[in-house]
Symmetry: C2
């Protein structure tokens, strides 16, 4: 199983001005691809903080995804921070420079070319053109903050992350979590590798608990699901069909 980590770089998220649309999107997509996302961090536009976080994530997880901070202005420090994390420098990449020169044509100003400055040894993946490719350094994949562009870029390369899928079963109940705490422990004692979640809902008229059972082993999920249903029957709890 491959693991992933997501780093969101941006004061605008931390100050509540902008809502982070990217980490929920990436988390959902990566889960569907079979990748186990282990951590999401939101950090400020600060060179040392970016560098430290990237270094830690890169060691801890198989894949690291960063979003935001890749434009031409003073607060776009992602490329410098990632270069620093790996003890490298940024340099102007000729292919990106020529793409930018073509795009801006006679309107080009020096500032635009900053977007061609990427860490040494970076790879360009997923095709060419104005918004593509995606830039990767070691196991770190660098995405912009604009959600539409991030999605377009991720769609282009996502198959490279595909892994064995997670199998999911859900059970909805009208009950109090306290009633089922013990039986969930019994199921986990039998199925220690099961990913079992129990989520209360306080304003849903139909159900008050959602249980999720997951594993990469489909048969394991089915056996655990059967045991859980049997345990629920013992205390007269019938799952709600949605």
């Amino acid at each position: 199983m491959h693991t992933g980590g997501i780093i969101v770089i941006g004061n605008e998220i931390l100050s509540g001005k902008t809502r982070d649309e990217n980490s929920p999107y990436l988390a959902g997509e990566l889960r569907n691809l079979g990748v186990d996302v282990r951590k999401i961090s939101v950090i400020p536009d600060d060179l040392d903080l970016i560098s430290n976080e990237v270094r830690q994530f890169s060691k801890a997880y198989d894949y690291v995804f960063t979003t935001c901070g890749v434009g031409p202005t003073h607060d776009d420090l992602t490329m410098d921070g990632i270069a620093m994390a790996f003890g490298r420098k940024t340099h102007r990449h000729p292919e990106l420079e020529s793409t930018l020169r073509q795009y801006y044509s006679q309107n080009l100003v020096d500032g635009n070319l900053r977007m061609a400055d990427i860490p040494g040894g970076a790879r360009l993946i997923g095709g060419t053109g104005r918004w593509f490719p995606t830039i990767a350094v070691e196991n770190v994949y660098i995405f912009p903050g604009v959600p539409e562009i991030l999605r377009r870029k991720f769609e282009r390369i996502k198959e490279m992350f595909r892994d064995a899928p997670f199998h999911l079963r859900e059970i909805y109940l009208q009950a109090d979590e306290g009633q089922i705490a013990d039986l969930l422990h019994r199921v986990l004692a039998e199925f220690p590798e099961l990913l079992l979640g129990s989520y209360p809902y306080f304003d849903n008229p139909v159900y008050s608990i959602k249980l999720t059972l997951e594993s990469k082993d489909a048969a394991y999920v089915e056996e655990a699901h059967a045991m859980l249903l049997a345990e629920l029957r013992k205390i007269d709890l019938i799952p709600i069909e949605l």
Copy 2:
């Protein structure tokens, strides 16, 4: 200036099943209160990971806020993780136990009482009753994951975090960020303490850049704002009135 950190504990966020509504809410509220949120982490329901993250955040920031993981089931490990972070144990709190006994009355099962198990030396703040108080250990404030309940609890205690406010000015432009990168550097050279953000928009018909100028010193923001407008005029860029 006081700093803050937010820790979201929950596999359901990392797997993309549930969207985290709480950290955007807390980040926005804390900013309005004048608190500088420096980091948001989303981590799994894992005792060691919770304990480590809480210990690090507690040292690094003035206030730490946790959400999720405070129910009665096996995946509710927040209280144990926070106790562990401070080298304490959880114990059954008599006041919380009696609130729970009253609430559940004859429907009470043992599982319900797990919600009265809190770290030794924890403080109960913000009043009494079923959903209140908020439990705090050292500088860590513990909130549930259900957004409505979190909000009600936070509203009750938020004034204790109030600090000098941030002053904010915004400028909207129809331009390319590359055009203004240099003049933003000049403004920052004059106003090094300014919190200056530049955010591109690719699908807004009215403006393509939002600039944000912030400081706790209102006069400083106004002076920086005046200089920035003068710099924009030099390259014939007129802010857009919204």
